[in-house]
C-alpha cells in the first residue's frame, strides 16, 4: 500500500446523515465506498440512513451501511452522557447530537451539510471542527 493511501485511511472523519446523503446523491455511493476507511457513523446515523422503517430496501445507503458495518461505531466511555447533554439543547436531534458527541470526545473532524446552520453551530460550540462534504471529498 502506498504511503499516501495509508495516511488517508488512518485519518478518520465522523459524518452525519445529511452529508452522507449529499455525497451519495451528488457523487454516487461508489465515492463513499472509496472513502469507507475514513468514515465513522454513529448507530443513530446508521438507523436514520439505513434502518429506519421508511427507508426503502433498495436505498443505496442502506446497502452501503449493510455491506460496511465497520463504519458504524457504538458510543465509547463517556460519549453517552455527552450525547444526552447535547440532546438537551433545543433544536438538535438525536442523529446530530450523536455525531457531535463522538467527534467531540474523540477529537475527530465532523463532516456535515454546512447549510444546516444549527448543527454546524452546535458542533463548533462543542469545539468540533467541521467541514462540508465537498471539502471532505477534496481531502482524498
Amino acid at each position: 500500500m502506498k504511503k499516501g493511501k495509508l495516511a488517508r485511511e488512518l485519518w478518520q472523519y465522523v459524518i452525519d446523515s445529511s452529508a452522507l446523503i449529499n455525497i451519495e446523491q451528488n457523487k454516487g455511493v461508489k465515492t463513499l465506498s472509496q472513502r469507507k476507511g475514513a468514515l465513522l457513523i454513529s448507530e443513530r446515523i446508521a438507523f436514520e440512513v439505513a434502518y429506519h422503517p421508511a427507508v426503502r430496501k433498495t436505498d443505496p445507503l442502506r446497502q452501503f451501511v449493510a455491506e460496511n458495518p465497520q463504519i458504524v461505531t457504538p458510543f465509547q466511555n463517556n460519549e453517552e452522557d455527552e450525547y444526552l447533554r447535547i440532546l438537551l439543547q433545543p433544536g438538535i436531534d438525536q442523529g446530530e447530537a450523536s455525531v457531535i458527541a463522538i467527534a467531540s470526545k474523540r477529537h475527530l473532524p465532523l463532516v456535515i451539510d454546512e447549510r444546516d446552520t444549527k448543527a454546524t453551530g452546535k458542533a463548533k460550540h462543542h469545539g468540533v471542527s467541521t467541514l462540508s462534504w465537498q471539502k471532505f471529498l477534496e481531502t482524498s
Partner: protein, 370 residues
C-alpha cells in the same frame, strides 16, 4: 443499569419516564416485561434512584412513542383523565398498544410544535370562547357559522379556519380504527385535536366538528369512537356533540335548498348522497341523518346503507404526511430550519419522515418549489 452515585448528574428525568408510561396506562410490570428487567428497576428509574442505560432508554422511547429528548427535560404535562366515549364500558386501558402509542405521538407533535413556535417567538392566540353546557348545540353552531361568515353555505376549510383560530390539529393513522378523534384543551399547547387519518374526508371533517364541540363545551380530554351508524350513539354528551357537528356543517336552510335543487328521492343512492355530502364537507352518514331529521328522506334509510361496511368506506392509500400534519405545522418547521433554529434531522424527526425526504423538501424549497 447505573446507580445514581455513579453518575455525575441525573441526566434522565424519572418524572418524565413516569409521565410517558402513565399516559399509555401501562403498568410497570408490562414495561419491565418488554425490557426484560424487574418492576423495581422501572420504579427506581422513575424515582431517580437509578438510571437506565442508553439502550434501555431507547427501548423505552420506542415503547412510549417518544423522542429521547422527552426524558431529559421537564415538558408540559400530557392530557389527563382521558374519557373514552362512544364505546360504553371501555377505557383507554382497553385500547390496543399501537393505538395508545398514537396518543403519545400526538402529544409529541403538540410538544414539537410548541418548541418550534417558542424558538421562532411565535405566540398563538385562541379567541374562540367556550360555552356553558346548557347552551343548545344549535345555538353554538350558529354563532360559529356567523363568525365564519358562511350563512347557509357549506363551511369550507374548517381545519384551516380552526388552525387560524389557534387550534392544533393533526391527523394520524389510528390502528384498527380504534377511535375516531381525540381532543384536549392544554394549558400550554392550547386546544388540540387529533383525527383518524384513515377516515374519508367527510368523516374526518365530521369528527373535527364533533371534537370542536367537546372543546367548546369545556369537556375534559376526550377520546371518541364515532360509530358508522350515528343512531347507535347512546351517550348524551356524544349525541350532543354529534348534533353540534351536524348543525355546524349542514346548515338547515342550505341543505333543504340543495336537496330540492338536486331533486333527490326519499331513498337517494349512495352516489347521490356522496356527491351532496362532498359539497358540504360532511360524511354520508351525517348528511343522511340530517336529511332524515328534516323529513326529506325516509326515516331509518341511512342505517340501511351501513348494514355492511360499504365499498366506498374503504381507504385507498396511505395519507400524505403533509396532510396529516397540516400546512401550518409543516411551514413553521421549515421556517425554523431556514432561520438556523433547528437542524435538518430535527425537521425529519418532527415531521416523522426520513432525513432523505426532509432534505429533498428543503432542496425543493430552496428552488422555490416548496
Amino acid at each position: 443499569m447505573t446507580n445514581k452515585s455513579e453518575l455525575r448528574e441525573s441526566i434522565i428525568k424519572g418524572a418524565q419516564l413516569r409521565k410517558a408510561r402513565e399516559l399509555l396506562e401501562l403498568a410497570p410490570e408490562q414495561v419491565a416485561l418488554e425490557l426484560d428487567i424487574t418492576r423495581q428497576d422501572i420504579l427506581d428509574w422513575e424515582e431517580d434512584r437509578s438510571q437506565p442505560r442508553l439502550k434501555q432508554l431507547e427501548k423505552l422511547a420506542e415503547l412510549y412513542g417518544r423522542g429521547i429528548d422527552y426524558f431529559l427535560k421537564e415538558t408540559p404535562p400530557p392530557p389527563r383523565k382521558i374519557e373514552f366515549r362512544g364505546m360504553p364500558g371501555q377505557s383507554v386501558k382497553d385500547l390496543p398498544q399501537q393505538a395508545k402509542a398514537v396518543l403519545a405521538r400526538f402529544d409529541e407533535l403538540c410538544r414539537n410544535a410548541l418548541e418550534v413556535e417558542n424558538l421562532l417567538n411565535k405566540k398563538r392566540k385562541v379567541t374562540l370562547t367556550r360555552f356553558k353546557e346548557s347552551v343548545p348545540p344549535k345555538t353554538v353552531a350558529e354563532s360559529l357559522r356567523k363568525r365564519f361568515g358562511v350563512d347557509n353555505k357549506p363551511l369550507a376549510n374548517l381545519r384551516e379556519r380552526l388552525e387560524d383560530e389557534g387550534f392544533r390539529i393533526f391527523e394520524l393513522l389510528i390502528p384498527d380504527d380504534a377511535f375516531s378523534g381525540f381532543s384536549f384543551w392544554h394549558s400550554e399547547y392550547g386546544p388540540c385535536i387529533l383525527l383518524n387519518a384513515g377516515d374519508l374526508k367527510g368523516r374526518r371533517n365530521f369528527t373535527l366538528a364533533h371534537e370542536l364541540a367537546h372543546l367548546l363545551y369545556g369537556h375534559e380530554s376526550t377520546l371518541c369512537y364515532i360509530p358508522l351508524k350515528l343512531s347507535e350513539v347512546r351517550e348524551d354528551i356524544e349525541f350532543k356533540t354529534n348534533q353540534f357537528a351536524v348543525e355546524l356543517l349542514l346548515s338547515e336552510t342550505g341543505v333543504k335548498e340543495d336537496f330540492r335543487r338536486r331533486q333527490l328521492s326519499i331513498t337517494p343512492s349512495v352516489e347521490e348522497l356522496g356527491q351532496m355530502a362532498g359539497k358540504w364537507g360532511a360524511s354520508i352518514q351525517a348528511l343522511g341523518y340530517r336529511l332524515e331529521n328534516l323529513d326529506l328522506i325516509q326515516r331509518g334509510y341511512t342505517d340501511t346503507l351501513f348494514e355492511t361496511r360499504p365499498k366506498f368506506l374503504r381507504r385507498s392509500r396511505t395519507p400524505k404526511w403533509k396532510r396529516q400534519l397540516g400546512k401550518e405545522f409543516v411551514e413553521t418547521t421549515f421556517e425554523a430550519y431556514e432561520k438556523g433554529l433547528i437542524s435538518g434531522g430535527k425537521v425529519a424527526n418532527g415531521l416523522g419522515i426520513t432525513v432523505r425526504e426532509a432534505m429533498k423538501e428543503i432542496e425543493q424549497r430552496g428552488h422555490g418549489q416548496g
